[in-house]
Amino acid sequence: MTAEASVLESGAGFSRNGEVGEVLVEVKGLKMHFPITEGIVFNKLVGLVKAVDGVDFHIKRGETLGLVGESGCGKTTTGRCILQLERPTEGEIFFEGVDLTKLDQVALREYRQKIQVIFQDPYSSLNPRMKIGEMIDEPMYVHGIEPDAQKRKQKVSELLNVCGLNPKMADRYPHEMSGGQRQRVGIARALSLRPDFIICDEPVSALDVSIQAQIINLLEDLREEYNLTYLFIAHDLSVVRHLCHRVAVMYLGRIVELADCDELYDNPMHPYTRALLSAVPVPDPEVEQNRDIRIVAGEVPSPINPPSGCVFHPRCPIAVESCSEEVPALRELKPGHWVACTEV
C-alpha cells in the first residue's frame, strides 16, 4: 500500500460539535488535467494544466475538512470534481462507498441531491430573473422531494427562516438583497434538498467582516442541527481554523500538509504552511510590532509547467538538492499529521 493510500485509513476521530462518524467521502489519487489546445479546425494538444495532480483525502460524517491554499492551487477544482461538475482525468471519488466517477448522469442524480454546494460569489450564483422563493423551490420540485406546491411553499418559508431571512423575502429578486442576504439564500437553496454533504467554496470571502461572522455562525449552527458534513474551501486561514476539524493545505495541485486543525496551526511542519501562517497579519498592533514574518520569495509557478520534484522547492527556504528531483510523498510524522516534505 502506498503512503497516500494509508492516509485514508488514519485520521483522528475526534469531535468538537456533534459526532464524527464513518467515512462519508473518500478521494483517491484525484487528478484533473485540462488540455491546452491550439488551432481552430484541428485542435492540437500543446500542453496540460495540471490543476489537481494526485490528491487523496477522506471526510468523515459530521466532520468539516478545510482545504486551504492560494489561488490556482486546485482547491476549487477538487471541489468541482467531487460534485462531478468536472469529470476527473484520473482517480476515484467515493461517496458512501460508491465511486461517483463511474456513474452516468442518470445514476448521479441521486447523489446530486445528497451533495450540495455553496458558491463564493453571491452575486453571480443566483439567477437574477428568478425570485428567491422560486430558486429555493425549484430543486425540491426537480428532485421530487415534495410534489405538492403548497407544501413546498411552506418549506421555502421554513428554510428562509432557518437561514435567518424573513420568509416574506421569498417574493424578492436577488438584486434587492445585500451580499450577506444573498449568501443566506445560497445556503437555503443548498439545504432545500436535505443534503448530507455540502461543499462550501469560499462562502464568506466576498463578504464584509461583520457579515462574514454572521455567515460563519450560521454554517456552524446548521452543521450541528442537520448533522452536515462540510468540505470548506477557503484561503482565509483564520476562518478555516475557526470552523474546521481537520485541514489540508494545497499547493499547485497537491496536498502538502494534512492534520487536525489545532495540530496544524500549533505545529505546522511544511515550510509552505509555515510561510502561509506567518503571512497573515494579526489584528493587534502590539502583537504585530514584535512579530517577525517569514516572507517566501517569488510567486506560485504555473501549473502548466510545474517545477520538477517538490513543486515548492524554488521558493522553499530549506530546500536541498534532492528536492528538485524527487516528489516527496505524504508521510505521517505524528499520528494524523501528514507532511509532504523530506526535510522536516
Binding site: 503571512a279 497579519p281 489584528p283 498592533p285 510567486e299
Partner: protein, 329 residues
C-alpha cells in the same frame, strides 16, 4: 508644523435616480509627513470615495464634492481645474489602486507607462526616464527590469503588476501615496511581500501613506494612526495601538470581535455585528449605527453623536463611549 494633507468637513454626494447618496458625509482627518494613516471600514462606507475626492477623480455626474476643504501642503485642492490637479496628481500625490489587472493600460508597455509620468511631470527625456524606470523597477523587486520594461501588463502576474503600480506611484518622488485596497486582490504570501515592500520604501523615502483597507490585520501591522469609517462618517480615530487595545465605538468593538484570530485560542463562537449597513440615501436623524448597536440609548435616535476626545489623540463619535468598557466586563 502644519499637516501634509488636511481634510476638513469633506462632503461628497452622488446624485442618482434613487436619491442623493451621501457617500462621504462630513469627514475630517489629517496626514503628517512620513506618516502611515489607515482608513478602515466595510464596503460602501465611503473610504474609497474619500480618497478619490482628494485626487479629483470623482466622476461628475453623478458625483460631486458639495462641501469642505482638502488642503495639501496648505493649498486647497477643491476648485482647481483639471490641468492644475493633474500637476499634483501623480507628481505630488501618487496612487495605488486595488485591481492591478485593470489599473494598468493593457496596450502600452510597462516601460512606456512608467516613463510617461516622468516625462510629463519631471520634464525628463525618454532615455533618462527609461534609466530611472529601470532603477525603480529594481527597487520594487522586479527581476530583469531591462527586459520587463518592454513587456505588457498581461505578461506579468498580479503581484508583479502591483509592484509596477508601486514603482509608478514612487517614480515622481511624491510626498504622499494613496493606496486603495492595495493587496485585496492578492494571495496572502504575495500580500505580505507587497506590504513589507511598501512599508520599507515609504519609510526609506519619507513618503506619507494613506492605506485604505477592510483588513484589520493589515492595519494593525502597518498603520500609525487609524480612522474608522461607517456610513460616510469617521466614527473613531486614534493611534493604532489605542484603537485596538481600547476601542471606544461599538462598531470598532464589533469589528474587532467578529474576526477569528490566529494568535488566540479558538473561540467557541464568533460575535458578529447583527444586521447590515444602512442605505445611504435614507439616513435617519440619529446615529447611523443605531440599528445594529448593542449599547444604544434613547438619545441615539434623535441626535448624531459628535466626535469627542476620549484619550490622547483618540476620538470617538458615540454617546455611550464612556460606558463601553463597563459593558464589555
Amino acid at each position: 508644523m502644519s499637516a501634509l494633507l488636511e481634510i476638513e468637513d469633506l462632503q461628497t454626494y452622488f446624485f442618482t435616480t434613487s436619491g442623493v447618496v451621501k457617500a462621504v458625509n462630513g469627514i475630517s482627518y489629517d496626514v503628517q509627513e512620513g506618516e502611515t494613516v489607515a482608513i478602515v471600514g466595510e464596503s460602501g462606507c465611503g473610504k474609497s470615495v474619500s480618497a478619490l475626492s482628494v485626487l479629483g477623480l470623482i466622476p461628475n455626474p453623478p458625483g460631486r464634492i458639495v462641501g469642505g476643504a482638502i488642503r495639501f501642503q496648505g493649498d486647497n485642492l477643491i476648485g482647481l481645474d483639471d490641468l492644475q490637479i493633474r500637476d499634483i496628481r501623480g507628481r505630488q500625490i501618487g496612487m495605488i489602486f486595488q485591481e492591478p489587472m485593470t489599473s494598468l493600460n493593457p496596450v502600452l508597455t510597462i516601460g512606456l507607462q512608467l516613463t510617461e509620468t516622468m516625462e510629463h511631470h519631471l520634464g525628463m527625456d525618454r532615455s533618462d526616464a527609461e534609466k530611472k524606470a529601470v532603477e525603480y523597477l529594481r527597487l520594487v523587486g522586479i527581476s530583469e527590469p531591462e527586459r520587463r520594461i518592454r513587456q505588457y501588463p498581461h505578461h506579468l502576474s498580479g503581484g508583479m503588476r502591483q509592484r509596477v503600480m508601486i514603482a509608478m506611484a514612487l517614480c515622481c518622488e511624491p510626498k504622499l501615496i494613496i493606496a486603495d485596497e492595495p493587496t485585496t486582490a492578492l494571495d496572502v504570501t504575495i500580500q505580505a511581500q507587497i506590504l513589507e515592500l511598501m512599508k520599507n520604501l515609504t519609510k526609506r523615502l519619507g513618503v506619507a501613506l494613506i492605506i485604505i483597507t477592510h483588513n484589520l490585520g493589515v492595519v494593525a501591522r502597518y498603520a500609525d494612526r487609524v480612522n474608522v469609517m461607517y456610513a460616510g462618517k469617521i466614527i473613531e480615530r486614534g493611534l493604532a495601538a489605542d484603537i485596538y487595545r481600547e476601542p471606544r465605538h461599538p462598531y470598532t468593538l464589533g469589528l474587532l470581535s467578529s474576526v477569528p484570530r490566529l494568535d488566540q485560542p479558538r473561540q467557541k463562537r464568533l460575535d458578529p455585528i447583527d444586521g447590515q449597513p444602512p442605505d445611504l440615501t435614507r439616513l435617519g436623524a440619529g446615529c447611523s449605527f443605531l440599528p445594529r448597536c448593542k449599547f444604544a440609548v434613547d438619545r441615539c435616535e434623535s441626535e448624531i453623536p459628535p466626535l469627542e476626545t476620549v484619550g490622547n489623540g483618540h476620538i470617538s463619535a458615540c454617546w455611550e463611549k464612556e460606558n463601553l468598557e463597563k459593558a464589555r466586563g
